[in-house]
Symmetry: C2
Subunit: 244 residues, 2 copies
């Protein structure tokens, strides 16, 4: 099996990492739209247009399944993408909610969603959680954490100050949905900010578990990964070497 | 006269502001490539391609002069743009250096250049300053200041911490070139970090003075400005209402 992973840039490598650590395929084709990253600050029409161009990119490969690692794309573009593709496409929002719901026993649990502005504005996470009966949902855009992670700041004072900026009025939640692929890289700092109490939901782990549940079988061997980008593919491959 | 102002996004509004406060034209056409912002993290080939597409955009208007407010575009794309255009095109790097050189009397002056990664890597500012005989040049990429300004954080702890992150090992310079259009919005905090000692060079003020020197005449009346964008033009117009 050959899995495509689509992301706006480098962030989706955190999802690719889960697919390498818990293999479902022999091969992964990763495509980051680094020429136009970030998506999370842009309009829904633009996001959908870019996502459909990614489908055209993946038409060059004979993939069996596409995962849109980017939460923003998952929030806006899945229906349009599915119309254009011959293979199944999974986003990360539904798997994230499914994984969270398995872990929580109580509909009164305090859930915090952190994501880009576009993902928060889509209300996809919020609406699906409400449908499941959750009552205490807090959703905030934490977009500046993206460039901080891209800068390689994964701990220390700058990050602490930024977390304080976003979280200072927020009571310790029971669970946090890391609604952007960059955020698993600072999950330790986020968890520690809330005294290590919350459960954290990571898109990569969630999608692997979700696909297992859909009867995609685990493989033994580590898959190969081929990395493509719309800008500076060498830079993306270097990040991949560091992160993966 | 009709002046076009091209920027990767909203940042160039700080340059447009100077052109409104010290009018050189009856009309300003502003175009922000908000669908693909930021440019400062991207490859030179991509930046040039985007800049040439902006020239195509301005072909729809009968402009007499184009200013590329974006330092990153000014660093890489001016020769290619000039080949394609019938009107003069000015960037902001040459004017910035010209304005700085007028203010400094001493070639030993300590000059700090802060800009995006792409602008710093181009070495355009550094090379031109060296040619003028300046010896103490320090150039650092301070890319994270861009999303901070876009978030509207123009003062306070997060910004202070970020400035400390970038400037902690830097001795107070005699002059700072604000080599990115976003930075004039935090010029007060930057100047204050260095005890208000350095002279600051602002692209908008520099280009106006530079064009005066090239015999473009000042007008009395405030020009009209028409704002266009490749994504979310309404959002850009709202920022313009706030900044201008």
């Amino acid at each position: 099996m050959k899995i495509g992973v689509f992301d706006s840039g480098a962030g989706g490598l955190t999802v690719a990492k889960s697919l390498i650590e818990q293999p479902l395929s022999k091969e992964i084709i990763y495509y980051g739209d680094t020429a136009r990253v970030p998506y999370g600050t842009k309009d829904s029409n633009t996001i959908i247009r870019y996502a459909l161009e990614a489908i055209e990119f993946f038409n060059n490969f004979d993939i069996d399944l596409l995962i849109t690692a980017c939460n923003t794309v998952s929030a806006y573009a899945l229906p349009s993408m599915r119309e254009k593709a011959k293979y199944p496409i999974y986003g990360v929002i539904e798997p994230g909610i499914w994984a969270l719901n398995k872990k929580l026993s109580n509909k009164d649990a305090k859930i915090l969603i952190i994501a880009t502005r576009a993902t928060i504005n889509s209300a996809r996470y919020q609406d699906e959680l409400k449908e499941l009966g959750y009552k205490n949902i807090n959703a905030i855009q934490t977009g500046m954490l993206v460039p901080i992670v891209e800068e390689g700041i994964l701990e220390g004072r700058v990050l602490e100050e930024m977390l304080h900026y976003y979280f200072k009025d927020i009571k310790t939640p029971d669970a946090i949905i890391l609604g952007c692929t960059h955020f698993p890289l600072i999950s330790k700092a986020i968890k520690s900010y809330f005294n290590n109490n919350p459960i954290l939901i990571h898109s990569g782990e969630a999608i692997v578990e979700y696909l297992h549940n859909k009867n995609y079988k685990s493989l033994e061997n580590t898959p190969t990964i081929n990395i493509y980008a719309s800008d500076n593919v060498q830079g993306l491959r270097e990040i991949a070497n560091k992160w993966l």
